[in-house]
Structures are given as C-alpha cells and as structure tokens.
Amino acid sequence: MTVVPQGNGAGGAPAAGGGSGNLYDVLELVLDRGLVIDAFVRVSLVGIELVKIDARVVVASVDTYLRFAEAANRLDLESGRKAPSQLTDIVEGSVESGAHGKSKGALSGAVEAITESFKGDGDESEDKEYEAEDAERERRPAREKRRERPERRSERRSTRDREE
C-alpha cells in the first residue's frame, strides 16, 4: 500500500532509543498518566489543559473541510513532482520545527496561565464575587477593584462611556 511517497529520506528515520531526552515527547505521559493517589492533593493543573490542546481529537466540520480545500488549492503539484529531493528537505524541516515550535508555545502558554492563577488567587474569587453581584454596583466607580483584569476594566469603562 502506497500511503505516502516512498523514499529513504532522513525525514523517515525514527528518533530511536536515547531514553527521554526530549521532554516534550513524554509530556503527556508525565501529566496525563502516572499513578494518581486521591488521598494526596494535586496542584492546580490549569495550565495542563493548555498543554493538552494539541491532543484534541480531529472532528469533521465545515471548518475542517474548508481548511483542507485551502491546503489542496495551495499545493503546487507540478513543482512538487519535479523536485522530490528538495521536498524531502522542506518536509523534514517543517515537521521538526512545527512540532517543536508548538511544544514551546503550548508549554510557555501554560506557564503563563498557571502563573496568573497562582498570583491571582485573590483576584479569581474577587471576580467571581463581582460577577455574582447586582448590576447596580456596575455603575459605581470601582476604583477599589484595582487588581481586576485589564480587559474587564476596559469593557466596563466603555459601558460607562455610553452611559455618560
């Protein structure tokens, strides 16, 4: 079965052996698997949801279809056939950098999120309280809410602007 173009390109060589030097490749094992002991407390795993974004399952949708249509339209079939060795290089490079780039993005994103949630324990509860409160308070100048999130503040400011 010819599933993909055959060849002996280095792109097909597995990163075999060598233990687990690359943390990213074992990330979901460390985070998702491993022994879970319910008598212990697990630290807030807010960031882990972000780390796992890339593990989301593929679903068929209009968006997916349009993306594939675009990918097909974009391909230059002729040049691809004429320069297979060049393609190998590109493929290899893009797979590598693609995966590693993503890993960095996901991981650092998670770090930011968790940092925010650690620093902002007070803020979180304050925000929830705030949301639960009567809209009446919404109109009062909320200067004491200095630690609220910027985007919330600007939203609220624009509400006030309209009112004024």
Partner: protein, 237 residues
C-alpha cells in the same frame, strides 16, 4: 510541611538518588519516606510549583533516576501530601496493591511511539491518486467553482487523509503490538496520527526499536516516527 511525592518503590530498591534534584527553585532535596514494606520518594513542596518546564523536567529526572535501578510506580505530575505521616499512611493502606503492581512491572519498561505526518505530503498524495479530488481542486483553485465545490473538495480530501492516517496508524500498531505485554493507545489527534505506549520486557527493547526503524524506513518522507524508551512505566501503573 507538605511534601511533593515522586514515586513509590519497594523497600528493597537501592534508592540511590545520586545528585538528582527535585522540583522548585532552588531545587528541593529529594529524600525517602520509609513505610513497612514500601518507600516513597519526596521533596519539600515548593510554594510556586507550576506546570513549567523546570518542574516537569525535575519530576521526570527523579523518575528516570529511580527507574534505572529497579521497578517504581511513578506518580503523575503534581501530587502533594500534607506531610510525611500522610505519605506513610498511604503506603501502609495500599501496600498490597502497590507491591503487586511493582512485581508485575519488574524487568519491564514503557516504550512510546508517536507518528507525525506532513499534511502537505498527504494532501498531495490524495490529489495524485483521487481523480475526483483533483478535478475539484482544478475547479476551485483559481477562485472558480462554488462554495459547495470547495466544501466538497475539503470533505473528500479530509476523508481521504483521515483514512490514510487511520490505515497507517493501524499498521504501526499492528507491527509493534506483538512485542508488547500491554498497550495504551491515545486517540489520534491533530498533532499525532498515532500515539501509543507499550509495556515491554526489557529484552525486547532492541527488537522494538528495530521494528520501529524498519517501519520508518518503509514509509520514508513525510512520515516521522518518534520512538521513546525505555521510560518509567507511566502508562502502566
């Protein structure tokens, strides 16, 4: 003082921690909490433990260090006990269960395989081999055709790509599965067309790597198989 818990071992484990460092900054001192028949490896829990590379790497380093000397049950990242007493409590309470699992894992290791496909290569193959897809592509690529044509092209390519990924994943699993004592297969995702862990007897590790190598050579460009192992048996605790 709350403690971060890394792993559980039998009392007979050498527990040679060397100079391995724990989570936190500065890194915590890793130490052993001894129960009657089992041990736990812990360190002081830092206040700012986070899902950061630093702490995940430290967690993994401790696991690797311990696992190299004998069977361990690696905890998932991020578990904290109130104090050493609480750790001993769990060691006593579940001693039988843990000991049994440690026996089953003796002489075995986890090997993980992940497969990444280059999407352009795959879409190209679909267009080369599927007449209908090629025609729809010709129709729509210069801005021609209707929205429905684009959707039809996308649906067709998407299905073909999915089918090829599934077939490839099936082949990879079928080739590696006979070597393993147990397996844990994650559903295919955007990132990996196949992602699976296998529990192997240690003397089959070489064969496993060889089969993986052969698969990768057979598939060639556009397919990347990443084999990782031996690893602490995260997926089989």
């Amino acid at each position: 003082m709350s403690v971060y818990v890394y792993a559980i071992t039998k009392e007979s484990h050498p527990l040679d921690l060397g100079d391995v460092k724990g989570v936190g900054d500065p890194p915590g001192e890793v130490r052993v909490v001894r129960g009657a028949s089992l041990c736990a490896v812990v360190s002081e829990c830092p206040e700012d433990l986070s899902v950061a590379r630093r702490d995940i790497q430290a967690h993994q380093d401790v696991q690797e260090r311990l696992w190299a000397d004998g069977p361990t049950l690696p905890l998932s990242f991020g578990f904290v006990a109130a104090d050493e007493e609480a750790v001993r409590g769990v060691l006593e309470e579940r001693a039988q269960l843990f000991a049994q699992r440690l026996d089953e894992l003796a002489g075995r290791a986890e090997f993980n395989v992940k497969g990444v496909l280059d999407e352009d290569t795959l879409v190209r193959a679909v267009l080369e081999q599927n007449t209908q897809a090629r025609e729809l592509n010709e129709l729509t690529r210069s801005g021609g055709g209707t929205y429905e044509d684009r959707l039809a092209l996308g649906e067709l390519v998407s299905q073909e790509v999915q089918g090829r990924q599934d077939a490839l994943a099936g082949e990879v699993l079928a080739a590696l599965r006979p070597l393993a004592e147990a397996e844990k297969v994650a559903p295919p995702s955007h990132q990996y067309f196949v992602s699976a862990s296998f529990l192997l007897d240690e003397d089959r590790a070489e064969e496993f790597n060889r089969v993986g190598q052969e698969l990768a050579e057979r598939y060639g460009e556009g397919v990347e198989l990443r084999l990782r192992g031996p690893l602490p048996p995260y997926s089989f605790v």
